[in-house]
């Protein structure tokens, strides 16, 4: 994975709570066997109805999505962050995320950051008023800043290191091979196998 340190660009507002992964990427697009190519299907049903906020000319090319609480709830489909990434987003800011979705974002190199509701509201109002507002998400400094605002965010320290280093977590776990082997030896004998 490529290291992720900083994202700068424009924001796009999605002022809705409980946006579920069925909306982010509807099920008919989960049948591909690749990890890429999902961008055109992002929010497919909502965009098909016309005038969807992400399709408005003023939000074209935005790299930071500002969203409502409990973003990404529902299914575990990693296709959701893949679609957001393929569409061009590099960071998502919301008051809260569903746990599996947030994990999936980190694995995809997508910065899923929580800020208090009032600060998310401020960003939402800023971009709604002026879509050209610039924002920088600085993962190293744990800050979201721009003209007239500077917010600090908390992020799981391990996830942060993984993102900053672009680390492959499989290699990291493989370093514990002897611990894993020792654990395997001590497992109770009655535990089932598929055989």
């Amino acid at each position: 994975m490529e290291p992720v340190t900083q994202v700068s660009g424009h924001m796009a507002p999605l002022d809705l709570a409980d946006v579920d992964t069925d909306q982010i990427i509807p099920k008919q697009f989960l049948k591909r066997i690749e990890r890429t190519g999902y961008g055109p299907f992002l929010f497919y049903d909502w965009r098909a109805r016309g005038n969807f906020v992400l399709d408005r000319p003023e939000h074209k090319g935005a790299s930071v999505l500002v969203a409502g609480a409990n973003f990404g709830c529902g299914s575990s489909r990693e296709h959701a962050p893949w679609a957001l990434r393929d569409f061009g987003f590099k960071a998502i800011i919301a008051p809260s995320f569903a746990d599996i979705f947030r994990n999936n974002c980190y694995k995809t190199g997508l910065l899923a950051l929580t800020l208090p509701e009032s600060q998310v509201r401020h960003l939402m109002d800023l971009v709604t008023e002026d879509p050209t507002v610039e924002v920088t998400v600085d993962l190293r400094a744990q800050r979201v800043h721009g003209d007239g605002f500077d917010y600090r965010f908390e992020i799981d320290s391990f996830a942060r290191e993984m993102l900053l280093g672009g680390l492959d977590d499989i290699s990291l776990v493989e370093r514990h091979d002897s611990d894993i082997a020792a654990y395997e030896k001590n497992r109770p004998e009655w535990l089932p196998t598929g055989r």
Partner: protein, 458 residues
């Protein structure tokens, strides 16, 4: 120090822990299906890695299998996903219960019925409803595709410690009220995200009184209020369910397992971050009116006035007006199925309402058993005949219209009484409208052609 059941399960699976790092946990059982695994196997192959424990990995086909006509009825992309899964399993030596085989079924139905799901285990699957397996006193949760790849490669998963919530359900369930109503009523109180970052233990006299099927229904929907996992301490009900199943321990191993399983309870003074009491005696059959499972009311109620923009959006999508009595809402379709409510007991409960009655002429109703073995057992006791005589379609096992990845979908604007777990916009088909409820409630709606209190038909 006194520990919760969840923390005991967690501690028993720690392979490695260090300050400032997530714990590295060992996975006892990794369930795999066709939709969230192809990219994981591809990743392994590209990196030249092999599956570390194919013997602890089990695959099935469920998400996009057609429920009639066999694999040939599948669209080209679905068929391709099934072929790719079969090829991946062949190459890596992973047991696969594929479409057409007698153990095929929804991943969260076959794990328990094969006896693969046992107390004390850590179980993961690339599916958010993996929490179902917690009903056996297991720690079970859903993961994404990258994590599927990590587990295939290492049989381990780094995880950050989670908090503890207890849901204390007490009292006898009134007639016509089911496990589904316990969890729908609960989510109506908690909202969609209270459980985030927590492992939930369901406990109390009502939970003790539930069958394993009912317990699975409750644990299944833990994710719908945001919880990482839901679980129930194992007891005699659990052991009776497991004994004699194909993968359950036998003889001396069974006795050793029982000894260990009996210790899987929360200590008396174990600390929970939050305790949520539920009075079961006050529960009624519940029905969702909106587009999240938290938008739910008793069937005797009315569509509520919107309290947020989310509510207004849901009312528009569902084409409902505040103040409408739920019983005045006509339906077009009925779906009895899904990992939440498609086990033998669920089909029996629905059939008992349907017996001797007929599906309303304007309604199209179907039953999709949770597994091939549930289907066979139901046929052995004549349930299929009850459903068919009433006008229900009797299908083969799969996820089917719970998420509409196969040909079983709602047409735009159609309204469905469904025993599944999610009423999100378009979940059962683009433009389709879903009302979640228990199997007896869905059966009653099929008969009357509108949402109805099943107690009126009892």
């Amino acid at each position: 120090m006194a520990k919760t059941l969840a923390q005991k399960l967690w501690d028993a699976h720690v392979v490695h822990s260090a300050q400032g790092e997530p714990d590295l946990l060992f996975v006892d059982l990794h369930l795999v299906h066709e939709v969230t695994s192809p990219q994981a196997f591809e990743g392994l192959r590209l990196a030249g890695r092999k599956v570390r424990r194919p013997d602890l990995t089990i695959a099935t086909m469920d998400h996009n299998v057609p429920t009639r006509g066999g694999v040939r009825a599948a669209d080209e992309l679905s068929r391709k996903q099934m072929e790719v899964l079969a090829e991946n399993c062949r190459r890596e030596g992973i047991p696969l219960h594929q479409i057409g085989s007698r153990r095929q079924g929804i991943v969260h139905v076959i794990g328990p019925e094969l006896g693969l799901t046992q107390p004390g285990m850590l179980i993961v699957c690339g599916d958010s409803h993996t929490s179902t397996h917690g009903a056996f006193g297991a720690l079970a949760f859903g993961i994404g595709t990258s994590e599927v790849e990590l587990v295939l490669a290492t049989q381990c998963l780094p995880q950050k410690r989670q908090g503890d919530i207890a849901v204390e359900v007490s009292g006898d369930l009134p007639l016509g009220v089911t496990a589904k109503d316990i969890v729908l009523g609960l989510i109506g109180k908690t909202g969609t995200s209270l459980g985030q970052g927590h492992l939930v233990e369901y406990r109390g006299s009502t939970i003790r009184g539930l069958s394993m099927e009912g317990r699975m229904t409750v644990c299944n929907m833990s994710i719908e209020w945001g919880a990482k996992a839901g679980m129930i301490a194992p007891d005699e009900t659990t052991f009776n369910y497991l004994e004699g199943r194909p993968h359950a321990p036998r003889g001396a191993a069974w006795e050793a397992a029982l000894d260990s399983w009996r210790s899987l309870t929360s200590d008396d003074d174990a600390p929970f971050d939050r305790v949520i009491p539920v009075d079961a005696t006050k529960l009624e059959p519940h029905v969702t009116w909106g587009t999240t499972p938290a938008q739910v009311v008793p069937v005797t109620g009315r569509v509520p006035a919107p309290r947020s923009e989310t509510d207004e959006r849901a009312l528009r999508y569902m084409d409902l007006r505040p103040g409408t009595a739920l019983a005045d809402i006509a339906i077009d379709r009925v779906f009895i199925g899904s990992c939440t409510n498609a086990r033998l007991e669920d089909l029996r409960a629905a059939a008992s309402v349907i017996h001797g009655r007929h599906v309303h002429p304007k309604v199209r109703a179907m039953v999709v058993p949770g597994s091939t073995s549930v289907k066979r057992a139901a046929e052995d006791e004549g349930l299929d005949a009850v459903f068919k005589a009433a006008g229900f379609e009797w299908r083969n096992a799969g996820c089917s219209m719970c998420l509409g990845m196969n040909p079983d979908i709602l047409a735009p604007g159609e309204r469905c009484a469904s025993t599944s777990n999610r009423n999100f916009e378009g979940r059962q088909g683009s433009g389709g409208r879903t009302h979640l409820m228990s199997p007896p409630m869905a059966a009653a709606a099929a008969i009357t052609g509108h949402l109805v209190d099943v107690r009126e038909l009892m």
